[in-house]
């Protein structure tokens, strides 16, 4: 028997043993449900990554993740921490494999496709809602086709891989027709490259019709971009834009500002790509959040598809960005709608640092200081999810109000509120008034709007595509469920400070919100700033 055959057999057997051991460990540790389903495939993917880097110095750091996952499963009792730990292990392995292959020019189409399919399956097939298997498989297959389309006739870069992977992560599972989105993108890429227009054009048209009305302008824009931008100068600019695009789709002023700063840096190095990306995202922000994300990713895909560069220097940042997403694989469903806020903040931070690097002659000290500033800011941001609140448990219908009498005194009130049947409410639309009445009887009014107070289930996959508002500006969480079924609960936290001690809080729901709308006041707390 050939040595290579023996080696392959040993790898296969080791993979089987490692996956079985992980499954047994998870069961012995008392884990149940989706987390148990997720662990053996995660180990298989790590072993696959080990195989891909078996001739490099990365093989040991990658394979160490296998026993590490078993150790984490066995020694930690909190399922969230366990799954985050496993996610970090998986992310490291995939990131290392991607970086190792891409930086050495060894990321061919076959390798990239295998890695992409394996990783995306972790996102789309673990904990998939009942009856949604076909859609999930179609999304994964579509992404593999998209990667093949982008890489056709040239070298595959980590940036290409990242953008296609992001497509696979972000396509909503509902409605079913959205499962063709990756195939639609593939067809548009094909259209842009093919000299024979009719067949790919027909494919684009058919797929755009299947995908829905929202896809029609995208198909047109895609074709137009291909005609307008014949030679973008950098492969990395659109790739590094991705997190910024995503972050800005969360519609936060701070993040958008950071994105603009970063954009300025990117435009300096890749003017055409930068300008087009900014224009697209600006347009996307006028749409509802789910569409904004799809448009943003579409922009990245279309730009990446046109790039001829084979620059390997940015394999690292691309691998890091991919790893950030992969680390959250246990909450892949929530990732579709939210791209968890801390990670997007981090992504923006990295972009800002990257931008700083282009602006300063020596970027070293600004880099250190900016990062430290981010850490301090994160530590000093109030953590609404960790607040101990007095339960209110009041459900309001339009026009109704509730009086909340605090048990303690103070001049700052914090409320956690979520909405019901508010999916169609655009961010900024007023939904309630909060009157804070001081102990001396003076009233202070604060108006609450959608965006602060969101639909409780607005981030669930069933509702995400039609929801007009995204993640609450100050989400309380928590993340619910695991795998493709997980979602972030839409409750938000609101703080109101007054110059006087607070005696009473009254929440009144606006009466013009339509039949069936409701507000749920979960809890409140009064303290001193």
């Amino acid at each position: 028997m050939k040595d290579s055959t023996i080696e392959a057999i040993v790898w296969l057997v080791a993979t089987g043993i490692a996956a079985t051991a992980t499954l047994l460990a998870a069961r012995a540790a008392g884990m149940e449900g989706v987390p148990v389903e997720a662990l053996p495939p995660a180990v298989v993917v790590i072993m696959l990554c080990g195989w891909l880097v078996r001739d490099t110095r990365w093989v040991v750091p990658v394979l160490v993740q296998v026993p590490m996952i078993v150790a984490i499963v066995g020694t930690i009792s909190n399922d969230s921490v366990r799954m985050l730990g496993c996610g970090v292990g998986l992310a490291f392995a995939v990131g290392a494999a991607l970086f190792s292959r891409a930086s050495s020019g060894g990321l061919d189409r076959f390798t990239g496709s295998i890695l992409l399919a394996a990783t995306l399956m972790m996102f789309r097939l673990i904990g998939v809602p009942q009856g949604r298997w076909m859609e999930s498989v179609l999304i994964v297959a579509g992404c593999v086709v998209l990667l093949a389309a982008i890489a056709h006739g040239r070298n595959l870069t980590a940036g290409h891989w990242l953008v296609v992977f992001a497509t696979g992560v972000a396509v909503p599972l509902y409605p079913s027709r959205l499962a063709v989105v990756p195939l639609l993108f593939s067809a548009i890429v094909w259209l842009g490259r093919s000299s024979r227009i009719p067949t790919p054009l027909a494919t684009v048209v058919v797929l755009a019709i299947v995908a829905g009305r929202w896809a029609w302008p995208l198909a047109l824009a895609g074709a137009a971009i291909h005609l307008a931008v014949r030679r973008p100068r950098s492969a990395e600019a659109p790739a590094t834009f991705l997190p910024g695009l995503w972050a800005s789709s969360i519609q936060s002023v701070l993040r958008t500002a950071a994105f603009v700063i970063a954009g300025a840096g990117a435009v300096k190095t890749a003017p055409a790509a930068g300008v087009i990306a900014i224009a697209l995202i600006a347009g996307g922000m006028l749409l509802r959040p789910a569409l904004a994300i799809l448009y943003a990713i579409a922009a990245a895909v279309l730009l990446v598809a046109r790039v001829e560069s084979d620059d390997r220097r940015h394999a690292g940042p691309a691998a890091v960005m991919a790893s950030l997403m992969i680390a959250m694989f246990a909450w892949s469903g929530a990732l579709i709608a939210t791209f968890p806020l801390p990670v997007s903040s981090l992504a923006v931070g990295v972009i800002v640092i990257g931008a700083a690097a282009t602006m300063f002659r020596s970027a070293v000290w600004p880099t250190y200081v900016l990062a430290l500033g981010a850490l301090v800011a994160a530590l000093f941001l109030p953590a609404p999810g960790a607040l101990e609140l007095e339960p209110a448990n009041a459900v309001l219908r339009p026009g109704e109000s509730v009086n909340l009498t605090p048990a303690s005194t103070g001049n700052e009130a914090t409320l956690t509120i979520s909405g019901g049947n508010l999916l169609g409410m655009r961010a900024g639309h007023p939904v309630a008034d909060v009157d804070v009445i001081s102990v001396r009887g003076r009233a202070y009014r604060r108006s609450l709007s959608a965006g602060e107070v969101n639909d409780w289930a607005g981030l669930r996959q069933e509702h995400w595509f039609v929801s007009e508002h995204g993640v609450p500006s100050r989400p309380v969480g928590p993340l619910s469920d695991y795998g493709a079924s997980s979602y972030l609960i839409g409750a938000g936290s609101i703080e109101i400070a007054t110059p006087e001690m607070i005696g009473l809080i009254r929440v009144t729901m606006r009466n013009d919100l339509g039949e069936g709308a409701a507000l749920h006041v979960d809890g409140f707390r009064v303290g001193t700033r």
Binding site: D3, I6, E7, V10, W11, A14, T15, I17, A18, A21, T22, L24, A25, A28, G50, V60, P61, L63, V64, V66, P67, M68, I69, V70, A71, G74, T75, S80, V81, L84, V320, L324, P340, L341, P342, V343, L346, G349, V350, I353, G354, A357, A363, V364, W365, T367, Y368, A371, L372, A374, L375, A377, A378, L379, A383, P384, G385, G477, P478, L479
Partner: protein, 648 residues
């Protein structure tokens, strides 16, 4: 701002400054970006933790953060080509001086423990009274410093006129004087930090001199410097780190024939503690018999141990201080085996679980002739010391951070480990050992009181898992303090591994190529087997162990009993006290002690325990077979239950 956060920020900036000085050009910029990414990642995790409802102790977070940053810097140093890094042993010393100094705030917020306050009290006596008599320090109403002890340690020498001398040699306390005068406990600790940094520098120099490639040295150095046991003694007032420093310096001086340095180092080593004479004496004999040194050196070197003995004799009136001649006599073979394997494998006090990277160093002994000369000299010099250590009751170190008595040996085990790593390329093991080391370091710095444990046969990992699952995981960790089956298995595996390493040569390229996946799968399987076995009930239940659910009672003997490890213990229960544990049932023996007898109920079965006085007795208990939780309750009387074990 909280102290942990301030410390984290200051540490980050100092480390950044250090990186700037140690890395060159684009490599430096790459580090800056990677460092920023890690910091940003921490920020992201802070925010994410609120959504995942995870809370972390601030000190644990800080230490983990600092270790990650340090690991990142060393990653750049290890993978940087020579033209990309500026590195030297002195730079290493400076770096770890900073690292240890930053650990001080975490350490100083907790009271001193073990021997620490006694060393400082002796320093105080030298400074205030210009003597080493502690009688007035113990008697005084006013404590010279916070945590100052008010009573002598049991067995401390007493002078003819009622003087109270410390059981500890005065040399370390003497060295602490400048620091103590400048800043009390903080200043004294800073002296130890300085010794820690000097030890790192000397060890790095020794590795360079012994031909260890810089990349390997840089890979192992952080595991040595911020791994157990060095890191736990580098900020504490114990003689171990200074002794290690002087030992390394002595060996280096002998290797390079630097007479003056050698004499100072050997004298200091002997003066630090009398037990180190056993180490120094081998080096001294070697020097005396060597023709490579001038005659005055070969005779003068004999003055080092003599000075130590005379000093102690002069102070306490006895040349051996608190030791006695019979301690030098041989003991039964099983004592040697217990102590030696204990130092190697014990879950609470052995290298395998407290500082696993040094196992590679032990393995290196199997290829003795190929070891670097420095490692051979250092390790061979320790043989007499080790032979006399392993037969002592407190081979495990007693009330101190783990591996106390062999801290001085670590630089030479590290040198040996570097040799093994260079040849065996045991990277999976090294990776896992590094992760485990990081866990131990974070825990030891952030929660320092856990470093001091009663020697009861359990370790913190076993306690954690036993508490988590309510079953006896501790039995799966080899214990030579309370010998168990795992100890036998561990010893057998250690012997086989040692022999295999000595005789086996893996020449096949295919075997080399598949080692990594096989090792990963094997390690995963071992962890899983450990977990599955741990959840099953064991054949023996020790009633003081962590896996029992208890309602009242107390550990016996009490935790602060002097030399507690010499006594047989258990769980003391009075009327109404209860315990519950997972057990397999069947015929079993209950080992107990009850002065006046007691009535207990086990699994609903009431039974009388006959009085045993001060002695231990046993009674047979027959329980229905089958795995279940057994509730045990004392109905009347008082009893100390040691253990229940199945009859085979």
């Amino acid at each position: 701002m909280s102290l942990p956060l301030l410390t984290a920020i200051a540490f980050s900036l100092v480390l950044a400054l250090f990186a700037q000085r140690s890395l060159v050009g684009r490599w430096r910029n790459s580090h800056a970006l990677a460092d920023a990414f890690v910091t940003s990642l921490m920020a992201g995790l802070v925010l994410l933790s609120t959504l995942l409802e995870i809370s972390v102790d601030p000190w644990i977070a800080f230490v983990a953060f600092a270790l990650i940053k340090l690991a990142l810097l060393f990653t750049f140093l290890v993978f940087g080509s020579p033209d990309r890094i500026r590195w030297s042993a002195s730079r290493a010393g400076l770096l770890f001086f900073v690292v240890y100094a930053f650990m001080l705030p975490a350490s100083l917020q907790h009271p001193m423990n073990g021997d620490e306050p006694y060393y400082l009290l002796l320093t105080d006596s030298m400074v205030r009274d210009l003597d080493v008599d502690l009688a007035n320090q113990y008697a005084g109403a006013e404590r010279p410093f916070a945590d100052a002890p008010s009573t002598a340690q049991e067995g401390d020498p007493v002078g003819t006129a009622g003087e109270r001398y410390s059981r500890h040699e005065p040399f370390l306390s003497l060295l602490l004087i400048p620091g103590y005068l400048a800043g009390g406990r903080f200043g004294a600790s800073l002296i130890l930090v300085l010794f820690g940094a000097l030890l790192v520098r000397s060890t790095m120099r020794m590795m360079e001199e012994e031909g260890v490639p810089q990349r390997t040295a840089l890979l192992l150095l952080p595991l040595f410097a911020v791994g157990p046991p060095i890191v736990f003694y580098a900020t504490r007032i114990w003689t171990e780190v200074p002794a290690a420093f002087f030992f390394v310096e002595a060996v280096r001086a002998i290797r390079h024939r630097r007479s003056g340095r050698m004499l100072i180092a050997l004298a200091a080593l002997c003066l630090l503690q009398l037990r180190f004479v056993l180490v120094a004496i081998v080096l001294i004999v070697r020097v005396s018999l060597s023709r490579q040194f001038p005659l005055w050196v070969r005779t003068g070197v004999l003055a080092a141990p003599l000075a130590a003995v005379l000093l102690i004799w002069g102070i306490t009136g006895t040349p051996l201080h608190i030791h006695e001649w019979w301690e030098l006599l041989p003991r039964s073979p099983e004592r040697y085996a217990t102590g030696a394997f204990g130092l190697l494998l014990d879950g609470a006090a052995g290298l395998a679980f407290q500082a696993p990277i040094y196992l590679l160093g032990v393995l290196g002994i199997a290829r003795w002739k190929r070891l670097p000369e420095g490692a051979r000299l250092g390790l061979s010099a320790s043989v007499i010391y080790l032979l006399l250590l392993v037969i002592r009751d407190e081979w495990h170190g007693g009330w101190s951070p783990p591996l106390r008595y062999i801290v001085f040996l670590m630089p030479f085990l590290l040198l040996s480990a570097a040799f093994v790593l260079e040849r065996s390329r045991a990277w999976i093991f090294t990776g896992l050992a590094a992760i485990w080391t990081a866990v131990l370091t974070v825990r030891g710095i952030a929660v320092p009181w856990t470093l001091f444990r009663i020697a009861d046969g359990e370790n913190l990992a076993g306690i954690h898992l036993s508490t988590l699952y309510g079953t006896d995981f501790s039995r799966l960790f080899p214990s030579f303090i309370r010998p168990n089956s795992a100890a036998l298995v561990g010893a057998a595996i250690a012997i086989v591994a040692f022999v295999l390493y000595a005789v086996l040569r893996l020449e096949s390229e295919t075997l080399q190529r598949v080692r990594a996946p096989v090792a990963a799968a094997f390690a995963a399987s071992v962890f899983t087997a450990f977990l599955v076995l741990g959840k099953m009930p064991g054949p023996v239940v020790h009633f003081e162990d962590a896996h029992l659910w208890r309602n009242n009672g107390a550990v016996e003997p009490p935790p602060y009993t002097v030399a507690r490890f010499r006594f047989r213990g258990g769980w003391s229960m009075g009327s109404g006290d209860e315990v519950s544990f997972l057990y397999r049932g069947g015929e079993s023996r209950l080992h107990y002690r009850s002065e006046e007898g007691a009535v207990i109920s086990i699994d609903g079965l009431s039974m009388s325990l006959a009085p045993t006085g001060k002695a231990w007795g046993e009674v047979t208990v027959t329980l229905p077979a089958g795995e279940r939780r057994i509730d045990t309750r004392v109905t009347s009387g008082r009893v100390v239950i040691d253990r229940m074990e199945a009859v085979w």
